[in-house]
Amino acid sequence: MGEVIDIHTHPAFFEPICGTEGLLEQRRQALGLYKAGTSSLAHIYNQMRCAGIDRLALLPLDLSTQESQTIVSNEEIRQLVDLDPQHFIGFASVDPYRPDALDALEHAFGDLGLAGLKLHPSRQNFSPASELLDPIYALCLRYNKPIIFHAGLSLEPNTTMRYANPLEFETVAARYPRLRISLAHFGFPWVRETAALLLKYPNMYADTGLLYFDSAREFYEEVFTRMLGKYWVDRSLRHQVMFGSNNPRFEQIRMIEALRNLGWRASTLDLVLGQNALEFLG
């Protein structure tokens, strides 16, 4: 079995970057995780070990023009990666409406050495196909960095599903065939649209960070064997689906176990649990 990478986690409550009660409460409200507590790194490692995860991709969120706040900054992500580069992969975030958005992203890639970009169109309030984003996409290409887009339902406040339908991203995939982009949460509830896009565009990926109903085993069975054809991932999309948990909203331990019970080939599981993430990260 190869390396297991969780490509979608939110480190807002990691103890080293969430040191005060005020910050904890602010992040609880901002992320809609109302009873979350701070997590020591020892606890994070215990969670990873129990779930069999080797590395976590850490996602920040820059909302500086829309909500006058940054929930987790690029610098905080760098701080966490510096604490443990063996276990953490740091992503950048940038609010595209910031006048200095390009400079901030160049700093994140060039100086902070972050591995990719997370964008959240439905909370940062932009259309992925907008010309506003073209310089950002060009910069990602120049640095060979992938983009994770939030797609589909979000349980965060101030976030509708506008700009979250997977079809919003087709123009980007078509216009930038060398740009690797991932639709988080498999674009739920539009999982068939996500599957269709993955089928057509090899530069598109999707993660498994969806657990909106039922237990992990029940919901993954519903999504990956009934909403989608039972063999679609295993036969056709096996190089483009990545394990992502959306932790701490969803728990990794049962999600991985549920993926292992879907009947996919062992080689498909290896791809989904880690190898695809390595390809995506470049």
């Binding site: 009873k35 020591s40 129990c50 657990l211 992990a216 969803f250």
Partner: protein, 142 residues
């Protein structure tokens, strides 16, 4: 006299037996109370306090019995998003196992010592780990 303390535990497994008998005895000693009662209470709904004999075979049997009674793969109503939390409740088995062990135990304190049977040990029972947990020890007497 009244003495109360809170201990924290960083659990490392999904289901875990953690012996806390020594911690309870130490708290009774620290309290200075000679005669009375000591109560040990879990602060959680997916963890418990259990009294039993500390044998590897029994821990295995108890774990096995709890899993048989409360299997992971069952259509639990609690398996859903909780709006008040903003997250998925993936832990119905933890709640149900906690119900079986209970959330506390109680022992007499006589001459500054916990009065318990030779085979009796006190466990903090993790049913939804790994997690950051706590339990309280309360001694009342004179």
């Amino acid at each position: 006299m009244f003495y109360h303390k809170r201990n924290t535990v960083l659990t490392s497994q999904y289901n875990q037996f953690i012996l806390i008998t020594e911690e309870v005895g130490a708290a009774v000693e620290e309290s200075g109370i000679r005669n009375g009662i000591v109560a040990v209470t879990s602060n959680h709904t997916t963890a418990g306090i259990m009294v039993n004999e500390a044998l590897e075979c029994l821990e295995s049997d108890i774990d096995d019995a709890l899993q048989r009674l409360i299997p992971e793969d069952h259509p639990y109503a609690h398996a859903r998003i909780l709006r008040d939390y903003g997250s998925t409740a993936g832990n119905p088995t933890g709640h149900l196992k906690s119900m079986l062990t209970g959330n506390h135990c109680l022992f007499p304190v006589v001459d500054g010592k916990v009065v318990k049977g030779d085979a009796q040990e006190i466990y903090f029972m993790e049913f939804d780990g790994p997690s950051q947990r706590s339990y309280t020890i309360t001694v009342q007497g004179e």
